[in-house]
Symmetry: D2
Subunit: 259 residues, 4 copies
C-alpha cells in the first residue's frame, strides 16, 4: 500500500467563491479522492494545521507527498521546508502541482528560480506526451486537452530535467514543459503543470490519471535513509585497502567534518 | 578578458602553521595566480571583507566565481548566498573547489545534501578523464595523480550531473565523481574535488590547468539577465495569437503573481 | 510475471576448459537460474539457435532481454540486431553484461564507440553505489567486492547516462562507470560491467542481486508500441486546431514521408 | 578559423521548380552563405560528388558538419555514414537540420528511431527558447516566428537531450523539441528543426543566427582523437599501481580484444 499525503494550502477555497464552488471540499480533498484506490491510500493535510500538517511523524508515514500551493507560498515555515527536503532526500517521493513551481520546497529542491511567464485567460491547453510509454503516462493518449487553463510559458527556470514527459501547447501561442522528472537524493520528484484554482482541472479524468500514475512512479519501496545529510568520516583503520597514514593532518581520527 | 574572482575563506591559513607554510599568501592568492593570464583577469576576495567581499558591485563585475571554503561554511551570510545564487542564475559562472561541496551556495544551487564519506590520510588520488576532449580537460592526459590528498568517497549526494568529466581512484579503495558540470539558470557550474588545505594541491600543474580551463568553460559572454527570478504576467492583449479572455479570474490584468 | 530471456553467446563454454568448469551449464543458464523466481520467468537462448534464438515471436514474448557476448560479436546477424533494437524501442527492457559493451545491439542503441581500456589480470574490483536507494541496488551495501575480475578502465565511450548507479575501483589503479541506465524509445536499458568468463562472477550473490533487480527495473508493463519507427502524416483535415492549408507543397495529403 | 562543411542532398533543387526558385544556388549554398564570416569558413558539398563529397580528407579538414537531406536518405552510402560517425566521435561537430532527423548519420548517432508526426500545410511555427543565454541562442529574443513551415509533432523519438534549447509551437496544435544538444564521443551534436524545402526558411535572419551560433557552439578546438573506437589493452606490467597477475586467462598480454 502506497501512502500518499496531499498538502493543500486551502486559502483560495476559503477566500474565493469561485474556487469554493468548484472544490467544495477543498482542492486537496479532490486530489486525494482522485489518487486513492488501487493500492494507494491518500489523505490530505492543510497549511493551517500545526506545523502545516507536516510533522516529522507524518512525513515518516508518507511515501509520496503531493503539494498544491499558491497564494501563501511565503508563509510556509522554513523549518517545514527543510524537513520536507530531507524527507525527499531520504526517499520520499514528491509531486508538485501547478503554482507549486514557486513553492518553497520545490525551489529548494531545484536550486533554480523556477520562474516562467503566465496569463490567466481561460485558454485552451493541450498536453503532448514526449516520452512514449512512460509510466506516468500509462493509459493516456499522445495528447489531451484542457479547455480552460491558465497559461504558463517558457523559458521555465528549472534545471534540465532527468526526463521531459509532457509539453503543453497554449492557444495564445506559448509552450511549456508541463511534466518533468528529477531525482533528489533518494527521492523521485515530478512537477506537473495543470491546475489553476478557478478552473475544474482536478476533476478532469486525464489529469487525475497523471497524478495517480505519478504517485506510483514516485514511490520508492526501499527503507528511508536514516541520515540523508550525514558525511561519515572513514577512519584509516577501516579503509578497505591497506593504507598507512601520511602527511600533515587537520582533523583527528573519527572527528566530525565542518559544515 | 574574462574576470575571475577567487573567494577564499582564509581561516586555515591564519590558524594552521601547516597551511600557512604551504600557502604563505593564502590559498585564494595561489589559485588566483594559477588562473591569471591568457585572457583571464583574476583577483581574490576573502570572507573577512565587508559582505564577505561579494558585494552586488563585485558580483556584477565577476564573470566566473571560484569558491574555496571549509571551516567557516556556517558563518557565511545567507544574504550573500542568495546574491551569489542570483548572480549564477543571471549568467555568472561558478566553480566550487574541494570542501566547497558543503558550502552554502553550492548546496543552494544543487538542491541536494552534497554529502560524501571522507578520510584525511595523505593517500594517493588518481583522477581519470571520463569525457574525452572536454574543454575542461584540455591539455591533460587520460589520468593524473596527486600523491597526497584527502579521500572523498561515493555515494556523493549530488543531482545527476549534466556531464561527468573526472572520476577519482583512491589508494584506500574508494572512488568519487571529482569533476561534474551543471547549468543553473544561465550560469555554468563546475565542481572539482582536489584541494585539501594541508597538501600542496593548488601548486600542482594539472590541477591548475583544470581550474584555468574551467574558468574559460564557465564563462558566458552573453549580457547578464537583469531579473533572473522575474515571472512576468503576459496581458491578454499582448498574446502572440488572437485570444479572447474567458472564464473566472483570480488576478487582475498585469498583476504580480504570488510568491 | 516478468518474462526474461537470457541471450548467451555460448562459445567460450565450448572452447575453453576453464570457462566450462566454472559454468558447466553455460553462462546463460547460470544467469537465468540467478534471475528466475519472485515474479520473474527466465529462460535462455543461444547464438547457435536459428536466428540466434531471437525470432520475432521470441522477442514479442520477452519483457527483458539480458545479453552476454564476447568472442563472436562480429558474427551476430545485422537483421537480428535491428530486430532487437526495434523491440527495445517498442518497450522491451535490455540489460547488457560485461563484454556486451562491444556487442552490436548495445553499440547500435548507444550511437557511440563504447570503447574502454582493459586488462585481464584477476585483480580486485570494488563496486560503489553512486545513487542511493536506486531500485537496481535494492538490498546491496554501499560497496561490494569481486576478488577476481578483468579490469575495464575509463574513458568509457558511452553517451552521458540517464543515471550512473555504480562506479568501480580497480586494484591496478583504474575506475569505471560500471552500472549505467538509458532510455531508448520506450525501452529501459542497463549496462552492468562485471562478468569475465574465466572468473565465477555470475555465481556471486551481489552480482546476481543486481541483475535480478535490473530485470525488474527494466520491465515496462505497458503494451508494446506497435510500430516504433513509424512517422505518421497528419492530414490537414485532422489538425487539432482549425487550419487552412497554405503555400507550396511537396507531398500529397496522407503520403508517406521519405526515409 | 572554424571550418564548416555544409552537406546538401541537392535533389529537390533539381526536381522541384518551387525549391529551385527559393534556392537558386541550392539550399547548401544558401546555408553556407549564412554561416560564413566572423571567424567561420564555410563551403558546401553535395551527395552527387564522389563519396558524397565526404572523403576522409574532407572530414579531416571539417570542424563542423551541417547536414540537410530528405528525399534520398536511403541512398547515402553506409560507409560514409560510419565515416561521419567516427569523425563526430573523434571531435567533429555536427548539426542536423530539419528532415535530417531521418538521415542515416543522425539515426546512427542517436541510437533511436528519431520518428515524429508531420504535416505540410504552410502553417505558423513559433520557436521558444527554453535555456536562457544558451550560446546557440545568442542575439535572439525569447521567441521568434516562421510564418510558413511544415509541422513536426511530438512524440519525437530521440534520446533525452543533454539540453533542450528550443521548443516549437505550431498553429495546428502541436509542439516539438526543435533545438536539442547531444555529445557523442568527443563531438558536439545539435539538431535544429526548421527548414522545409518549399519555404524560404534558410533566408530567415533568426534561423541563420541559430545555425551560425550552433557552428560556433559545436566547434571543439582540441586535436581530433586519432582512433576514436580503439579499446587498448593495458599490460599488467604497465599498471599504475603494483599488480601481480592472478587466476586463469583467456587473452595473451597485449592481445587485441574481440569485436
Amino acid at each position: 500500500m502506497i501512502r500518499a499525503t496531499i498538502w493543500g494550502e486551502n486559502v483560495h477555497e476559503k477566500e474565493s467563491d469561485i474556487v469554493a464552488e468548484i472544490y467544495p471540499n477543498g482542492m486537496h480533498n479532490c486530489i486525494a479522492d482522485a489518487v486513492r484506490g488501487d493500492g494507494i491510500e491518500a489523505t490530505a493535510v492543510t497549511m493551517d494545521q500545526p506545523e502545516h500538517g507536516l510533522t516529522e511523524a507524518r512525513l515518516a508515514e508518507t511515501d509520496v507527498l503531493v503539494w498544491w500551493g499558491h497564494k501563501a507560498h511565503g508563509e510556509v515555515d522554513d523549518r517545514v521546508v527543510e524537513r520536507v527536503s530531507e524527507a525527499v532526500w531520504s526517499g520520499m517521493g514528491a509531486i508538485f502541482l501547478h503554482s507549486a513551481h514557486f513553492s518553497k520546497p520545490f525551489k529548494r529542491l531545484m536550486g533554480t528560480p523556477c520562474n516562467l511567464s503566465w496569463r490567466e485567460a481561460g485558454e485552451r491547453e493541450r498536453l503532448w506526451l514526449t516520452s512514449r510509454n512512460h509510466p506516468i503516462a500509462a493509459g493516456l493518449p499522445d495528447s489531451f486537452e484542457l479547455e480552460y487553463e491558465e497559461m504558463y510559458g517558457e523559458p521555465f527556470g528549472i534545471p534540465e530535467p532527468q526526463e521531459t514527459v509532457f509539453i503543453s501547447w497554449f492557444q495564445g501561442g506559448e509552450v511549456f514543459r508541463s511534466g518533468v522528472t528529477y531525482k533528489r537524493g533518494a527521492g523521485n520528484v515530478f512537477y506537473f503543470r495543470p491546475g489553476h484554482e478557478t478552473y475544474p482541472t482536478y476533476h478532469d479524468a486525464n489529469v487525475q490519471t497523471v497524478i495517480r500514475n505519478a504517485v506510483r512512479w514516485a514511490y520508492n519501496p526501499a527503507a528511508r535513509i536514516a541520515q540523508p545529510t550525514h558525511a561519515p568520516n572513514v577512519p584509516v583503520g577501516n579503509a578497505l585497502e591497506p593504507l598507512e597514514e601520511r602527511g600533515p593532518k587537520l582533523h583527528k581520527s573519527g572527528e566530525e567534518g565542518y559544515r
